[in-house]
Amino acid sequence: MGGHEDPDADAESRRMTQPFPFAAIVGQEEMKQAMILTAIDPSIGGVLVFGDRGTGKSTAVRALAALLPEIKAVEGCPVNSARVEDIPEWADVTKCKIVKRPTPVVDLPLGATEDRVTGALDIERALTRGEKAYEPGLLARANRGYLYIDEANLLEDHIVDLLLDVAQSGENVVEREGLSIRHPARFVLVGSGNPEEGELRPQLLDRFGLSVEVSSPRDIDQRIEVIRRRDAYETDNAAFMKRWRTQDTRLRNRILKAREMHPEAPEATIRACAELCLALGADGLRGELTLLKAARALAAFEGASEVTAKHLSAMAPSALRHRLRRDPLDEAGSTTRVERTAAEVLG
């Protein structure tokens, strides 16, 4: 995943033949739910997972990659175009065959240079043939898929700025070294981080649709179950994967079905949503939009035909907690504030 030209992909695939099954993750319901909802409606705009080490953040993201339904894309297209006419003109694609491929989940490693993120001059061709050509970067590969940033809070500022810009416009523009290239870059941003190691700038926080906080389960039986499943996954991989495959498939089918549903949002629900955001003083309108979208995706996932206050209050913490003004004394965090206000406003 996400290496240079992945010289280590082989070595990696030898051990990690298949990622840990999504359905086998113990607990962490909020995180799992948030990820499923972005799979239903990518326009919700990504998930930020904040929490301690060893709580299964990375495991969940990698599991999600295996869970996601396949996409149809032109074979060999560097930006995973869905149709032949969408292929950017700089790309050297000769075949026009549409193939199914897994939804891309691209890792953005810390300390990735700007060149690697946006793409840059193809050094190989410049050096050996003296040609100017564009070599696509990680943003191109992540188009129509997921971009995963582990330790998002340690990301360098200039890369953050760049990501914000692209995430907003859905397009990556490269104007350097005499190149002028643009290509679509629409992706779901998934970030994870440990709040002890530095905080995220509010601008970047706001770009994530949902945010969830994870912590280790306190329940001893649950903890033992986590270790047991991990152990089974590592020692008896084949049997373990077989046992969980059906559940993963069922979940995938539910996601596919939910995508086709378009639950109605009645006037009353929209009003309640606005009132809630107003009462919380959430900055900007993005919170309201995200909350409504997330509630709708949740309703679709549950097979409901209408978005109700129940869906709103279920999604309010994840959609709003990172958009509140921070209170340095409030150690309990914004979650309780959102829940309390949601209970008051939505009844």
Binding site: G54, L110, T113, E151, E197, R228, D231
Partner: protein, 549 residues
């Protein structure tokens, strides 16, 4: 006679040699020396061993285009990096690992292809391996206290690790012990289980036995402990272990695995024996280090390749993060031109080794936030003297080009009297006109100072708070005149300041040193100076140390 410490170290080495990738690796705390050399010499790994260093570049890690070869041969030559092929990495000076490298290595460890031995030579408790790596390395070992005489080579045990069954009880015991030692992460019990399995395999057992679990607890769980089990902490280590029948929650809850005696207590004893006596002190230091590291993201960074005061340029490569120093590069290439011209026939020939990159030193600006108590009690005692002390500090700050800000608290709230400025005159004027009287809303003052400090830090400055008060807080955060609540709020704010790693200094301007204020200073982790003894020289030196971080 082989000392138990060395024997344990030797076992750790054997585990690591058997299957480094499953364990992630080893965090070895030891100064460079014969003991460490002896330890490392006995390492036999199934993976190739490669040394890396904390400033290793991405090129060396991931590989890339070999410029020299490519240019010479006219076609693309790729060079593999350290992470391209599975290896056991040895990282000396691991305490200096920057977070970026830690994250990259962590990703490699997660992929399960690599293992890492982090040689931590940290002298102070604050210098330690980045938590992202420490978390993923199963074995934690400290060789610091092993005398050379104890360290003798033991012939390595060579057993072929075969499949080892782990009884369900072993799994749940390790998990429970981890929880009782205050280890939150679930990676720890998982790694401990791996270690126990390997230990059993080395001894030729087919099932994990109690001895294996004890070894795993000693090597994996005990060094990660954050509490010395059970609610009572520190004192417990010195006293003999409590009788095993002390009623603990999870024991009564679970249905007791009734085979023999549950080794959970045995494991806890093993872990306790391993805990250093000054556990809590170390934890505090570690937490402080973490906070400081975290804060360095924006403000305190010393070296930079982008901006700041220029430093002499250094040989380097153009990896997109540094800027080339053209003059220095030309100068480095100049002596070789005749020689190179003969070889290549080019007018001007450069080699990658000629490249010099610019370096800069970035000094983040400091800001000293004065938090002055202007309540009635303070006004009557020594507000005037406090003003004098502040002026003294101001002069100091001015000389060092620090910014200053002034916050006062009286009545029910705190006021930002002077936003951050460098103007000495303005500060003095505001200070002279400082009115006194009213209650002491200490918590509100601390809160205002903390908020300002965080804002300033976000701007890339390094904040420090100087608190001048008589410490008799009597107004709570919500403005109520409730002495008890006020004291609690003040303590809570103090902890918040400490948690964010902001340097501070507490000056007691009461007539008599106030015990509560001393306690408050301890909560902030700040030096406490009672004014009766705080002459000008001591004051300014205290401020200098508080700001010197």
């Amino acid at each position: 006679m082989i000392s138990p410490d060395w024997r344990r170290a030797e076992r750790a080495r054997a585990l690591l040699s058997a299957n480094p990738a499953a364990l992630g690796g080893l965090w070895l705390r030891a100064r460079s020396g014969p003991v460490r050399d002896l330890f490392l010499a006995g390492l036999t790994a199934p993976l190739p061993i490669r040394r890396i260093h904390p400033t290793i570049s991405d090129d060396a890690l991931f590989g890339g285009i070999d410029l020299t070869e490519t240019l010479a041969s006219g076609h693309m030559v790729q060079r593999g990096g350290v992470l391209s092929t599975p290896a056991l990495l040895i990282l000396p000076m691991a305490e200096r690992t920057p977070p970026g490298l830690a994250a990259r290595l962590a990703a490699a460890l997660d992929a399960g292809t690599h293992a890492l031995i982090a040689l931590d030579e940290g002298a102070e408790a604050e210098e330690a391996l980045p938590p992202a790596l420490a978390e993923r390395l199963a074995l934690h070992l400290d060789l610091t206290n092993i005398p050379l005489g104890d360290a003798r080579d033991i012939p390595a045990i060579s057993a072929r690790p075969g499949p080892v069954a782990a009884p369900a009880a072993a799994l749940s015991d390790l998990t429970k012990v981890a929880l009782r030692l205050g280890i939150d992460s679930l990676r720890a019990p998982s790694l401990a289980l791996h270690a126990a399995r390997l230990a059993a395999a080395l001894d030729g057992r087919e099932e994990v036995a109690e001895a294996d679990l004890i070894l795993a607890t000693e090597l994996v769980l005990a060094p990660r402990a954050t509490i010395a089990s059970a609610p009572e902490d520190e004192e417990e280590e010195d006293t003999p272990p409590p009788p095993p029948d002390n009623p603990s929650e999870d024991q009564s809850e679970d249905k007791q695995n009734d085979q023999q005696k549950v080794p959970e207590e045995v494991l806890l004893e093993a872990a306790k024996a391993m805990l250093p006596p000054d556990l809590l002190a170390q934890l505090a230091a570690r937490a402080a280090a973490r906070a400081r590291q975290a804060s360095s993201g924006a403000g305190d960074k010393q070296r930079s390749v982008k901006r700041g005061r220029p430093l002499p340029s250094r040989p380097g490569r153009l990896d997109g993060t540094a800027r080339i120093d053209v003059i220095a590069t030309l100068r480095a290439a100049a002596p070789w031109q005749t020689l190179r011209a003969k070889a290549s026939g080019q007018r001007l020939a450069f080699r990658p080794a000629d490249i010099r990159v610019k370096r800069y030193e970035e000094r983040s600006e400091r800001i000293l936030i004065f938090l002055v108590d202007a309540s009635g009690s303070a006004a009557f005692s020594r507000l005037a003297e406090a003003k004098g002390a502040v002026e003294l500090l101001l002069a100091e700050a001015y000389a060092r080009r620090d910014q200053v800000a002034l916050i006062t608290f009286r009545g029910t709230e705190a006021d930002l009297l002077l936003p951050p400025t460098r103007s000495l005159v303005q500060t003095k004027r505001r200070l002279a006109a400082l009115p006194g009287g009213g209650g002491t809303p200490l918590a509100a003052g601390l809160k205002a100072a903390l908020e300002l400090a965080l804002t300033e830090r976000a701007k890339g400055r390094t904040p420090a708070i100087a608190l001048l008060t008589d410490g008799r807080a009597n107004i709570a955060l919500d403005g109520e005149a409730d002495r008890k609540q006020a004291a609690e709020d003040a303590i809570a704010m103090a902890r918040a300041i400490r948690a964010r790693g902001i340097a501070a200094l507490v000056i007691d301007m009461g007539n008599r040193p106030e015990q509560a204020l001393r306690a408050l200073a301890a909560e902030i982790d700040a030096p406490y100076l009672p004014m009766p003894r705080a002459d000008s020289a001591r004051l300014s030196s205290a401020v200098s140390t508080a700001l010197a971080e």
